[in-house]
């Protein structure tokens, strides 16, 4: 039943008093009646009480029941009010479609952008990895504290020892995988193909705790080194693509690298560790010793472990340090420098690189939403002056202030929810665009989607947004002070308090815009710095063809290697050609150590650290890296006699400061005498190898003729169409060996562009948010000034009638806009200075407090604000005093 008037709600105390009063009335009335019938007073009361029965029990029962009744009534009233508020709000919003659409679109952009970024953050950072008890998984690196190399891949022998000596770790696994480089050749099933493979140690599958979709994972024996019966696991994608998803392939043999492998099973589609592109998992023991020697100094494995339940990261770290220290003492020659280990949560090791960037984006996008809130709040304030009459009437009719505020808040929450629903569409498009833009740059990109968590986030965000932008206007509109002013015929929101509030909102908005602009400016400058980094080579007209030489087909593979290079040098369009194991930004070489003649290592001392690169003659000339001193390798260098090496400038500067490096001797491995050592024949300029923003490590370039690797990146400087030349190079290789699979073909322009893709993406997104911020901010300034000009038509008209020039009036309005901007900019720049440290993790070569950026962005902000102020100012200058004074 609906009441016309609501009874005030009763509290527990009121209920008790009511029940007492009711029962007392009954006893009194009955007693009086009995006295009237002739009984004595005390006898009458006793009889009345007796007739009543158990008074205390009744009182208790009724009290409890009435409290229930009251609570139910309260709930019902609340729901009635809500329904009434919603109906009323919908009607109000329908009657002003322009306002509603503007507000909903603004909010949709804000909420949508937030939801899109949040779904990325959720998928990449928040959602656990797709392994059972993923929180127990950690990544392990060998650490060479002396060389400050804390994240060095592990050697296979070390991993075996770690596994044997583990106590707090449930299991340890490792893999050898290099994007586009580790793989095997599949033959006997159509054209020869290079299949991307991860070579895994015995603990790999057991540590991750994931079983096979079809068949089974290899057991310990099948994984063990020296096992003759070779086995392989297929990825789901490879199984479907190559074998049409037939179950019969499980148990059959396939030919990989010329050897038969038994297919043991197929992994589930969600299993993409250590990379999405892995198509095969093969025991590491299948790698022949001459491809990757099974010795301690060869550190190529990515190792990881599962901690036993209840074991903390610190305990795992302590245990790994203990074991590494033990091995360093046991094998001082090989492991002496690696007496420690680095342990990190597996999730962090995968997503750590993008973490800061994503959080910066999330922060920026929250700013955008806040600005959208301010804009809508401003719209609501402007609207409130239109609705003053309605609100006054409701207050006058006895609606409480709380009730009116609730009504207004219901309206803003409905607006925000509509914005949220539209925002989900924006988010869907945004997520799709983000994934395209960030292709290959975002770890776990496949886990990014709009799911229940994201929907809950969007819903919560919408409600909070509605309350944030609705609260201030609602409190203001229902303020008793303001209502008093109304009754006296004042102008309400047009009063000075109203302007102060709206000015405050605009200042806040400009401050947010300033912070966004500075962030975007810093990122842009950082990207420009990054793009201007001298990588140490000339990427233009440079192409690469990658392949891995099969040691079974080419037992004397260095000969084949050089035949290929010679052949490629004759290809038309090739100006120069050479080869390297790891092209810049496509691998970081092997880290190892060396000694100088006369050095002897005391126990616990470590060899000098350096990165080893394997190259052919003519490599530096080909990629355009300048020789600083000496010469590079020449075709005349042949094994026998002194081994020539080239070092980079970083190594020369670190180990031979102020000396001539050329002619100096370096000792590797077991070499003890200067006669047996390698001699530096040249110093090359630093080439950035692992990342654009990482200076080159001290590097030793080894001639592939003396010490070789099967993985080959053939590099050529070309004239004309680079990719066409690359195809001709591929044909040249095939003319020597028809069955040689090619791993990849790429241009160095693409490589360099890929190396800055992530910072570029971050810059683009921050730039978009920065521009959005400027637009929202200028809309805010425009809105407030336009409203001011509208409300003050009469005052402006008087000024003009009294002789003020239209230009003077316009300047006054612009000055007001710029004053607001200046106030906001000061606050915003201070904020940007304070928040700068969060950006420092993603900035390159730019201080977060870069003065030039701050000055430049302030100028942009003021320029935009001037334009936004000029439009209403021009209108103010055109006010016709006659019309303005006649009106109103």
């Amino acid at each position: 039943m609906r009441r016309l008037f609501r009874f005030p709600w009763r509290r527990a105390r009121d209920i008790r008093a009511d029940v007492d009063a009711e029962l007392r009335f009954h006893i009194d009335a009955r007693t009086e009646a009995l006295i009237a019938g002739g009984l004595a007073a005390d006898t009458a009361r006793a009889q009345a009480t007796r007739e009543f029965g158990d008074v205390d029990d009744a009182r208790r029962y009724i009290n409890a029941l009435d409290r229930d009744t009251e609570a139910a009534r309260r709930r019902r009233d609340y729901m009635d009010d809500l329904r009434q508020d919603i109906t009323y709000a919908l009607r109000k919003l329908r009657t002003s479609p322009a306002f509603t659409i503007t507000a909903v679109v603004t909010l949709a952009l804000g909420i949508g952008a937030n939801t899109a970024i949040f779904s990325v953050v959720n998928g990449v950072l928040l959602r656990p990895l797709p392994f059972p008890h993923a929180e127990q998984l950690v990544r392990i690196w060998s650490a060479n504290k002396g060389a400050n190399s804390l994240q060095v891949p592990a050697s296979v022998l070390d991993v075996d020892d770690w596994r044997a000596q583990r106590q707090k770790l449930a299991d340890i696994g490792a893999y050898f995988y290099q994007d586009g480089a580790s793989g095997v050749d599949l033959t006997g099933a159509g054209d020869p193909q290079r299949i991307s493979a991860a070579f895994v140690t015995p603990g790999f599958f057991t540590t991750l705790g994931v079983g096979a979709l079809e068949g089974r994972v290899p057991n310990e024996g099948e994984m063990a080194r020296g096992g003759n019966d070779r086995v392989a696991m297929l990825s789901h994608g490879f199984w479907v693509r190559q074998f049409g998803g037939q179950r019969s392939v499980v148990g059959s043999k396939i030919i990989l690298g010329g050897e038969p492998y038994q297919v043991l099973g197929v992994m589930p589609p969600s299993f993409t560790f250590p990379d999405r592109s892995v198509e095969l998992w093969i025991p590491y023991s299948s790698i022949p010793d001459d491809a990757i020697p099974h010795i301690r100094p060869v550190r190529v494995l990515g190792a990881f472990a599962r901690m036993k339940p209840g074991v903390t990261l610190a305990e795992a770290q302590a245990e790994m340090n203990l074991i590494a220290g033990r091995l360093a003492r046991q094998y001082p020659d090989d492991d002496g420098s690696y007496a420690a280990a680095t342990v990190m949560s597996l999730q962090e090791s995968i997503t750590g690189k993008v973490r800061t960037g994503l959080l910066v984006l999330l922060g920026a996008v929250v700013f955008v939403l806040l600005m959208a809130c301010v804009n809508v709040a401003n719209l609501l304030l402007a609207r409130a002056s239109v609705r003053e009459r309605e609100i006054t009437v409701r207050l006058a009719l006895g609606a409480g202030r709380g009730r009116v505020v609730r009504q207004l808040l219901t309206e803003s929450v409905i607006l925000a929810l509509a914005g949220g629903v539209a925002g989900l569409l924006v988010a869907r498009g945004g997520v799709a665009a983000l994934l395209v833009l960030s292709a290959g740059q975002l770890p776990r990109g496949q886990d990014v989607r709009i799911d229940g968590t994201v929907l809950a986030f969007a819903l919560g965000l919408s409600v909070v947004t509605g309350l944030v932008f609705g609260l201030v206007p609602a409190l203001r509109a229902s303020s008793p002070r303001l209502q008093g002013a109304l009754r006296e015929g004042g102008r309400g929101m047009a009063g000075s308090a109203g302007y102060r509030l709206r000015n405050g909102l605009v200042i806040a908005q400009v401050a947010l815009a300033a912070m966004l602009a500075v962030g975007a400016g810093l990122m842009t400058k950082s990207l420009v710095r990054l793009l201007n980094v001298d990588a140490g080579f000339r990427p233009d007209h440079l192409v690469a063809v990658m392949f891995t030489i099969s040691t079974s087909r080419h037992p004397n593979y260095t000969q084949f290697y050089h035949e290929v290079i010679e052949k490629v040098r004759t290809v038309p369009g090739v100006i120069a050609a050479g080869a390297v194991r790891d092209a810049p930004f496509r691998g970081s070489g092997e880290s190892s150590g060396f000694l100088l003649p006369g050095m002897t290592l005391k126990p616990g001392e470590q060899r000098l650290g350096a990165t080893f690169m394997f190259i052919s003659d003519g490599y530096f000339n080909t990629i355009g890296a300048p020789m600083i001193a000496g010469r590079e390798f020449a075709p005349e260098d042949r094994p026998g006699g002194i081994v020539p090496v080239v070092v980079n400038a970083a190594l020369a500067k670190k180990y031979f400061p102020g000396q001539t490096a050329v002619g100096k001797t370096l000792l590797f491995g077991g070499q003890v005498s200067a006669q047996a050592g390698a001699q530096i024949v040249g110093v090359v300029g630093d080439i950035r190898q692992s990342a654009m923003d990482e200076p080159a490590a001290p590097t030793i370039y080894v001639n592939n003729l003396f010490n070789s690797r099967v993985k080959t990146t053939l590099v050529a400087r070309t004239q004309g169409d680079a990719l066409a030349t690359a195809r001709a190079m591929r044909s040249a290789i095939w003319s020597l060996d028809r069955d040689q699979p090619i791993t990849a073909i790429f241009t160095f322009d693409d490589v360099v562009s890929g190396a800055v893709a992530r910072p570029r993406l971050l810059t683009v997104l921050l730039g978009v948010f920065g521009v959005l911020g400027l637009v929202l901010g200028s809309l805010g300034i425009y809105g407030v000034l336009a409203y001011l000009v509208n409300q003050r038509q009469r005052a402006i008209g008087v000024r003009i009638a009294l002789g003020a020039s239209p230009g003077g009036v316009s300047r006054m309005i612009v000055r007001r806009g710029l004053t607001l901007t200046a106030a906001g900019a000061v606050i915003g720049l201070a904020g940007a200075l304070a928040l700068g440290r969060f950006l420092s993790g993603v900035l390159f070569g730019v201080q977060p407090s870069d003065p030039l950026t701050f000055v430049g962005m302030t100028a942009v902000l003021i320029g935009v604000a001037a334009v936004a102020s000029w439009l209403p100012a021009r209108r103010a200058g055109r006010v016709d005093p006659v019309v303005a004074l006649r009106g109103d």
Binding site: F7, D18, E22, H26, A29, D54, Y61, L65, D68
Partner: protein, 110 residues
């Protein structure tokens, strides 16, 4: 009429109260007196269960309560039938009549 008062059957009190309030709003004491007078002491009614029933009916929305002034100018809690109470009375009344008719059917000599 038998001299010894009869116990009230379960649920009977509710229908008696609803019937009593059918004409006009009354406070609890008036309801108590009215039922006693109408049944002439045949039914043994204590006031405690009566008040419990009144509040139970308020909880289920069959009656509404509000404070008013009694005949001798004292604050009393007046109960009145709601639309739902009226419907409830109708339903229970006809159920009672059918029940009673059935019992009479058996008791009447053939």
């Amino acid at each position: 009429m038998a001299a010894k008062p009869m116990d009230l059957m379960q649920g009977t009190l509710d229908v008696l109260i609803l019937r009593t309030l059918a004409w006009n709003a009354m406070h609890g004491y008036a309801v108590s007196r009215w039922i006693r007078e109408r049944t002439d002491g045949t039914l043994e009614i204590e006031d405690a269960p009566l008040y419990k029933a009144l509040h139970r009916l308020e909880h289920t929305g069959c009656v509404d309560a509000e404070w008013g002034l009694s005949e001798n100018n004292r604050r009393a809690r007046y109960y009145s039938l709601t639309a739902r109470g009226r419907k409830q009375l109708k339903a229970e009344e006809s159920a009672w009549r059918r029940y009673a008719a059935a019992v009479f059917e058996v008791l009447e000599p053939a």
